[in-house]
């Protein structure tokens, strides 16, 4: 981790360690004791971090995530509204709202049925595969043009003071690369495939850290069928960690 590029912000509390979005997801699923969650500490820690490097995208996302957590916690801490005479009125309004929503939803279900018919028709229509499917649609551009274009972007970025991602290898980059590799190989890849022969020692170390991080985040699974057998890495399917979170 020789670069200045921000790694994902990792929350560390007594009961949870991981990225903020995962914390929010768990909280939304009711799996976090919100009353005991030190949101103030988390925010302070993130603030301290932004003094070192400030990524606007990251800040936006993090503020949104923190706001969502604050809202959840506020709801959890506030006393439940006592059932008063207002409640009856509210209930009536709520019912109305629900009914409205249900009617809208029913309409979409009806058109979904109509779309299903169109889908069935179109699935019986076949076209010839397009000619030359693997030729790039490009002409008149040379490698030097590409090279020069990139230099210009870098130069302009420097003028603007934009943060230019360093070329160094980061855990986040290697995590993304491993996931991309696994996405392309649903049958998994051998452990060795993560470490090409030309990889530098730094790359190997960082890639290994990235793999550990992915294992911890339950994004990949590492399997060795027998002792001394090839270790294989698989992507975990989204269902494995989202069970029940979504009606699919």
């Amino acid at each position: 981790m020789t670069s200045t590029r921000p790694d994902p912000f990792i929350v560390r509390t007594a009961t949870f360690e991981g990225p903020l979005d995962q914390l929010l997801r768990l909280a939304q699923d009711g799996q976090v004791d919100l009353a005991a969650l030190p949101l103030g500490d988390i925010a302070a820690e993130y603030l301290a971090r932004t003094r070192q490097d400030l990524d606007p995208d990251d800040v936006t996302e993090t503020i949104w995530l923190l706001a969502a957590l604050i809202e959840l916690k506020a709801r959890a801490l506030l006393p439940q509204p006592p059932p008063a005479e207002e409640a009856a009125e509210d209930a009536g309004q709520l019912e109305e709202l629900l009914e409205e929503r249900l009617a809208a939803y029913r309409a979409f279900r009806d058109v979904a049925t109509a779309l299903r018919t169109l889908e069935a028709y179109q699935q019986r229509v076949f076209l010839r595969l397009p000619e030359q499917p693997d030729e790039p649609l490009l002409s008149g551009i040379a490698l030097t043009d590409l090279w020069r274009a990139f230099q210009e972007v870098l130069a302009r970025g420097k003028e603007r003071g934009a943060e230019i991602p360093p070329e160094g290898i980061t855990v986040a980059e290697r995590m993304a690369a491993i996931l991309a590799l696994l996405a392309a190989h649903p049958q998994g890849v051998p452990f060795d495939a993560l470490f090409p022969a030309e990889a530098t020692r730094l790359e190997i170390v960082v890639t290994f850290l990235a793999l550990l991080e992915l294992v911890r985040l339950l994004r990949v699974r590492v399997v060795q069928e027998a002792r001394f057998a090839t270790i294989r890495i698989y992507a975990r399917t989204p269902q494995e960690d989202r069970t029940g979170a979504e009606a699919g």
Binding site: A104, R106, F108, R116, L118, P130, E246, G248
Partner: protein, 191 residues
């Protein structure tokens, strides 16, 4: 007798449609066959007429024309290709897609409010199938992504354009008797 210019244009168009494998717009056809727009339009009409009662048909889809097989012969094609056919969309995916199609541009929270369940995974799948795409961000807190349908969506359902969508009956009454594009109702759905 058919005008020989139209005959020639129709023949050339037939060739372009065969190799294209996707919808070709009228202007692209005009460029390829180097004929004026009215000749091209007449040539397309001639082709559609000639393919009546045949195995192939010229379909008008996603703002262009494509040469495809008639659904009646899908079984023969599948036997030849040995393919089981494409997987149809799940019911949940189809409903979500319908919401995006009629309410676009729309954010995930808005979709979830309508469906009553989390839809992140489904939206991802629909995006991977190129049926929807991010079209911008809503200028509210969190700047949530706005989704809309793609050209591939039109092709998938064989629609000329979005006004070709089946009418949406959001009020729970009987469907409108008039074509939606004319009642203006479809427009108000799409905001």
């Amino acid at each position: 007798m058919t005008d020989p210019r139209i005959r020639e244009a129709a023949n050339a168009i037939e060739c372009v449609l065969l190799v294209s494998g996707e919808p070709v717009r009228l202007d692209q056809l005009a460029d390829a066959v180097q004929a004026p727009a009215d000749v091209v339009a007449a040539a397309v009409a001639l082709l559609r007429q000639e393919y009546a009662g045949r195995g192939l048909e010229v379909q008008e889809v996603a703002g262009g024309y494509q040469l495809g097989t008639r659904p009646a012969y899908a079984d023969a094609v599948r036997r030849y290709l040995g393919a089981a056919g494409r997987e149809p969309l799940s019911q949940a995916a189809l409903e979500t897609l319908a919401i995006v199609a009629y309410r676009q541009p729309i954010t995930r929270p808005e979709i979830e409010a309508l469906r009553g369940v989390r839809s992140e995974h489904i939206l991802e799948r629909l995006e991977e199938r190129r049926l929807i795409k991010a079209v911008g961000r809503k200028p509210t807190v969190g700047r949530p992504i706005l989704y809309g349908t793609t050209e591939a969506f039109l092709r998938y359902f064989g629609l000329r354009d979005l006004s070709d969508l089946p009418p949406l009956d959001a009020l729970g009454g009987p469907p409108p008797a008039v074509a939606p594009a004319e009642t203006g109702e479809a427009g108000s759905e799409e905001r």
